[in-house]
């Protein structure tokens, strides 16, 4: 975190910058993340478009939990909203509000993970696993990779939250919050796309 907050020599000399190093770096990182998921989504599409029926005949009896996951989607979207509110709060210097919004965001994120996890456990009990043909493979790998990203985002959020409690952010010192919020936005925005692709069509 320190590394992001003040890079050595930053702003010491040189021209003024339209965008700070840390913000730029996360945006660049998202470029790589998008390509990573593009690889996985491409894989999914190859199988999805290459098969006449979906799920494939061998997996025809599998029913993905569309309803629960739909609700879960709303949970995650909400967390995007609370994160944004938190960022707005600190931009105006309201530290206490930041803490509350971050807390809500973390709670929503963890809820999302717990629901996903329990649905997975149910599916596995029904005999639908990673090795249940390509259907199972793409499902678990694609959704699992997203879950892993949410997990990382939650851990990152915890670090920022700790900083907020320690009162390290203020009206003109909130890069760490913003950077985390950008990443959070990425995992939130990615999810509806995956939900539609994997669960609905």
């Amino acid at each position: 975190m320190n590394e992001l907050e003040h890079t050595s020599y930053e702003q010491a000399e040189g021209e003024s910058r339209p965008i700070s190093n840390a913000r730029l770096a996360v945006l660049v990182l998202l470029g790589a993340e998008i390509m990573f998921f593009a690889g996985l989504i491409g894989t999914f599409l190859v199988f999805r478009l290459g098969s006449v029926t979906w799920p494939p005949p061998s997996q025809a009896d599998v029913r993905l939990p569309i309803g629960v996951t739909g609700l879960n989607t709303i949970v995650l979207l909400l967390s995007g909203y609370t994160m944004f509110q938190g960022l707005r709060a600190i931009r105006q210097g309201r530290q206490k509000e930041l803490r509350n919004w971050l807390f809500a965001t973390g709670l929503l994120g963890i809820t999302f993970l717990v629901v996903q996890g329990s649905e997975w456990i149910r599916l596995v009990h029904h005999g639908f696993t990673l090795s249940s043909g390509v259907y199972g493979s793409v499902f678990y790998v694609l959704i699992g990779c997203h879950a892993l990203h949410v997990l990382v985002a939650v851990l990152w959020l915890l670090v920022v939250f700790a900083g907020a409690i320690a009162g390290r952010f203020s009206m003109n010192r909130y890069v760490s919050v913003e950077v985390c919020a950008i990443y959070w936005a990425f995992v939130v925005v990615l999810w509806p796309l995956l939900y539609i692709l994997v669960y609905l069509i």
Binding site: R17, G39, V46, S131, G133, V141
Partner: protein, 615 residues
Amino acid sequence: MNDHTHESHDHHHEESFIRKYIFSLDHKMIGKQFLIFGLIMFMVGGGLALLFRWQLAWPDRPLPIIGFSKTYQETGEVATDADRKWEERFDDDKETWLETNMPGGVIDPAFYNSLFTMHATIMVFFVVVPLLVGAFGNFLIPLMIGTRDMAFPVLNMLSFWSNMLGGLIMMAGFFVPGGHAAAGWTGYAPLSSVAEYSGVDWGQNLWCISLIVMGISSLMGSINYITTIINMRAPGMTYFRLPLVIWSLFIVAILLLLAFPVVASALALILFDRMAGTSFFIAAGGGEPLLWQHLFWFFAHPEVYILILPGMGMASEMLPVFARKPVFGYKSMVFAMIAIAFLSWIVWGHHMFQSGMNPALGASFMTTTMLIAVPSAIKTFNWLGTLHRASIRFTVPMLNTLAFVSMFVIGGLSGIYMANSPVDIFIHDTYYIVAHIHYVVFGGSVFAIFGGIFYWFPKMFGRHMNATLGKIHFWITFLAFNGVFFPMHIIGVGGHMRRIANPMQYEYLQPLQPINVFITICAFILGVAQILLLINVFWSIFRGKVAEQNPWQANTLEWHAPTPVPHGNFGAIPQVYHGPYEYSVPGAETDWTPQTQPNGESLHGEPIPVGASAD
């Protein structure tokens, strides 16, 4: 933190050995670490090549020195130490590494597969990328754009050490049961995704894991490079005053950033196939082997341009300095590189003409591929334009750069043949491809690296490399290189497949065998010549002639920094007034005009006639 920033260049502070040489945060030291790493891996990769070249020239003949002697083979009598050692080895009942891989000094066919796989993997991922992007990228970017360090020094250090970790994992693969990965550097599925098919177990797993680790390393590097170049240029250093090598590294960082994650996802899928019972790439389980080829080449074609673009950039630095002329067509050079980078995303199918493809799709890949020749040709003609009517200084870096330009032309031309899918049906998977690869990657990138090492060595280590030794090394390398790779075009057209352990098994290849012997002899000369380079580098670090600040009389900012370059690089951050290639400006009293020199002033402060110094 801010205090620390000032402290580091206001008064000198001693750093511990570990902070300074091992977990260093200084971009220059990290660059040197990549340099040493890359050179060592270069020797490893080259050594592997010599092993399989021996096998190709003299199939199933024991290796010299460590193998059975001729007497032993003919009569069964122990004649040398090696014979005795082998007898002892075969006697005890546990099988050693040597016995599995080269029993009696003869390279086992399975080991042969690992050899060529690892040769290419090491050369691409652990030599050329670490040297071009890791070593030169780290060393040059902050110096040439006029800043004190990378945007994220800690990330930079982590990038080197994860690179190192990836290297160690890759090396460990040689010593696991089942041997190292043997599915080629392209790791085609299902050979790579089912252990039973190739007999390789953990070797292939480690190959995947190591490449993922390398991906993370280059991700960290790219984030750093992109941020640094966008945000930390010195005052006056506009985009179109950036030296071309910085442009090339910038573009390469973007390519790496976007390409590597794709192959990382594919590598993860292979690991799932191998270890978790999925069947992404296994047709028997409903998977799609061709999918791997698409994902791999979607990454790997940009990757081959990652291997050449920084070389092009470095050549564009050295040519004007030693031709004492501005680089011809600076902006067209930049746009050509951008065009190459863009096109490199839509040509990957040219590696798959023989894999089964809709002919219409094949035709479009053929067209886009041939389009790449256009920006490549623009660059080549610009280099030639730079040389035209110049008073060339034939220094060692210049010799290597000229080799770069001419060898790249040969490699680019053979590329156009292969890009024609009807022609490629005939030469795909033959030594013609191997010739092409090596003309672009060795003839191109590696000569640029040699030139670059020699050129920037005075700034890196404060000492010169030895020019005589450099020339000897260059000429032997240049001649032996052509001796090795030119004949490969011929045997390739003659139908010699790549990746076979014993050409003598095919009757129609037997007449070509003398060429194989010739190639191998040249290869050994080429290999031995590299020892001269190593000697020159390591000797000169300690004993070379002490270098002045700007020994080549060049314009770019790194020569403005004192030698040896202190922590923080510059006294005061330089102000940049014009482009990097203003050589032999009419009316100027010297034939170079440093980027830091105010317009309208000569080196000694007298005014220059108006209109003489172009921006």
